[in-house]
Symmetry: C2
């Protein structure tokens, strides 16, 4: 290795908070990183949206351009670091960079979730690397462990809390009894939620990240649209209190699991037993649990977002490529899936349920509901009357079930709306009570 060799040219796509973090960290730690990788890296060109915007870092204006494609294909650039985010033009730039024989490091979950397999195949064909540790879980190492460190295993399941915004909100709702709206306002006030929080609260963000993890874990292409998803918008403060009484914690859990007839991939609010390690992951932390046939269950936890953790993951990937180049190794071209996932329809999965329903407070209600459940092959594990409203003549009940078919539960919920005993159908949550 020759640390006196000219530094490796880097093209940076994006100079938002993450881009600024990457740029300034590369400047500040230049000597250390050169020592570590055996070869320096130097940012040669940077694509920005607006040349004149004031920034927190001082950059030679001569290397700035508003043309990301020009950066992605610049002859002086050996590694393209994409931190602009969003689908396009990021996707086109990554594609162009790979076509031009550049290594690519990206933090982009949108592009990797929707086009990852094709881009990995392109990188393989061009004999270059495409690394994307920062696309899931911020600074938590999870892509590389799935790709490399756990590769001897057949993976049975990946279960993850991979959306910090919703985990912060759920933690606040449970701890402080906040409503959904109040929890969202608090998350926005702290900068954890965007002004338009839809992608976070409806489970889209988690579904994208889960598609990336599941593709890696199961070696088949899992698309975001393969992932069943439900968000957290329907949860009420009382659900957290009731869950607690039953020994559960509510989490927006992303699950990818080998099921009997295909992959079970879904994101929805889930009741986790309070002693489950994932139930203890509070606030904006992320955590990913991986079950493998040899290793058993391993858990990876840490800050799942933010400029500094994302910078940690992006630069690790960049230094890894630099180290390979310094060692005279052109690339370790990526693996890519060659078949599409066979996803098991959620209706055919068996799960346990938490059903919170507002009923008339009169004799015979339990029998009526019990009959409807039995008619749909659902057996009751516990029945609790939570609150009665004497004036309205209603009572809130919570039923937990034994394992039942999701399709049966759906049919029950439709029928329940028409039962005389039922005032408001309420909410149905899924319970995760067993390990894969």
């Amino acid at each position: 290795m020759d640390s006196a060799a000219p530094p490796i040219g880097v093209g940076l796509l994006g100079l938002g908070v993450v881009g600024q973090g990457v740029y300034s960290t590369l400047q500040q730690k230049r000597v250390y990183y050169t020592e570590r990788s055996g070869r320096g890296v130097a940012v040669r060109r940077i694509a920005v949206r607006d040349l004149d915007r004031p920034r927190g870092v001082s950059v030679d204006p001569g290397i700035l351009t508003t043309d990301p494609l020009a950066v992605a294909t610049d002859p002086d650039v050996v590694v393209v670091v994409e931190v602009m985010g969003g689908f396009e033009p990021a996707g086109a730039c990554i594609r162009a960079a790979l076509e031009a024989g550049k290594h690519v490091v990206t933090a982009n979950k949108d592009v990797m979730a929707t086009a990852g397999p094709e881009l990995l195949k392109l990188a393989y064909e061009r004999n270059v690397e495409l690394l994307y540790e920062a696309s899931v879980g911020g600074g938590i190492p999870i892509i590389a462990p799935l790709k490399r460190d756990l590769q001897a295993n057949e993976i049975y399941a990946v279960q993850a809390i991979i959306n910090g915004t919703t985990n912060f909100m759920l933690t606040a709702m449970a701890r402080d009894g906040l409503t959904y709206d109040a929890a969202l306002a608090e998350a926005q006030r702290r900068g954890y939620a965007e002004p338009n929080p839809a992608n976070d609260v409806d489970g889209t963000d988690a579904a994208y990240k889960l598609a990336i993890l599941a593709t890696l874990a199961f070696h088949v292409t899992v698309r975001p649209e393969d992932v069943y998803r439900e968000g957290i918008t329907e949860l009420a403060p009382k659900d957290f209190a009731y869950a607690k009484r039953l020994g559960y914690v509510v989490r927006l859990l992303a699950t990818a699991r080998r099921a009997a007839d295909g992959l079970d991939v879904r994101v929805h609010p889930t009741l986790l037993p309070e002693d489950d390690p994932l139930a203890k992951v509070d606030g904006v932390l992320n955590a990913v649990a991986v079950d493998g046939d040899l290793v058993g269950r391993t858990l990876f936890e840490g800050p799942g977002a933010g400029p500094a953790p994302t910078t940690s993951a992006v630069i690790a990937d960049l230094l890894d490529i630099a180290y390979g180049i310094a060692a005279g190794q052109p690339a370790r071209p990526p693996r890519f899936p060659t078949t599409n996932a066979c996803v098991q329809p959620i209706g055919s999965l068996e799960m346990q349920y938490y059903l919170r329903t507002l009923v008339r407070d009169r004799p015979g209600v339990l029998a009526e509901i019990g009959n409807a459940l039995a008619a749909n092959n659902i057996s009751i594990a516990s029945f609790l009357q939570m609150e009665a409203d004497a004036v309205a003549g209603t009572a809130e009940i919570v039923i937990t079930t034994h394992d039942a078919l999701e399709a049966d539960c759906e049919r029950f919920l439709e029928q329940a709306m028409h039962l005389d005993a039922v005032v408001e159908p309420g909410i149905r949550l899924r319970i995760e009570s067993h390990r894969s």
Copy 2:
């Protein structure tokens, strides 16, 4: 890549439980691993201690030998997998294999803790790989994350529970009120503790593993003898009860931290706040927390021992080498530290303490002890009288302190033995109350 190319020759050193796990897993998953790595691997020779011993795996007797050095240097062997354990002849075999230009995968904490830096340098000079993920934390990815995924960070601290035997015992002592002897017997009954448990219970095993982690995290050579260590043999059931009353959990914590005047590296029973993630790591699980300047705190948790998790880590390293060879990359030669750690003497560290002491149950005792503490610059954070024995005229007290110099605490403990108030000096435990 050409998966039809002849498989890569592997020499296996050791056919104990781990060796059998590696061998049989490579057989069972041959097709899958060939697909993953782009090139098959095949065990060409195996070194065993006794040719005639019955084994749980069926192996062609023609590839067995009692000469590990012959396997390590066999011309048909490209990668040597060392799972024999212990210092020698394992160390000599690894050295001979590297000298002969073979890649090496090892699960050996003894060799890597005592000779890792020299062996990594030798591998670097010979342009071969030396991978050792299985040497710490069983199947939990921690070596690779420290080496690669967190490499952009300056690491501030590594805190770990890396001895499953003692963690099982401490969990049982806390939960079931077992004595040390009863907990050890239970661990032995379950196969978690060896007939001679000294290396586990006195902190030696954890100190070896910590030396490996600290060397990686801080890029300097940390030897096992650099690690201050205390075992768990002095702990009494009441310490767990008292700790719980104070909001703490007792763990054998391995800590490596940048301190003011060098590295702070130590293994000892530690009182952790009960809400610390490491306090929630129960039974034989292992966990490693890493604090970095960019990423913040990440946590890696899982089964820290056992044939299957160890096999997971060993084969991951092996497939990584195979993948590189299949990609036409001869090696990614390792980094190695070039300077020795400057270790800060424990006497100059500041910590908080838990002091459990048997005193005379009479007026003036607190003043006498308080004076002795004050004379040694130690200020009291809490004072609790736990139990009084009216017949003996004694009382058990527990004092927790604010940050104090370890040397001052040592001096106090010496003086306390001679105080009239003190019947038995009891035990001193360290409290981990702050994050690095």
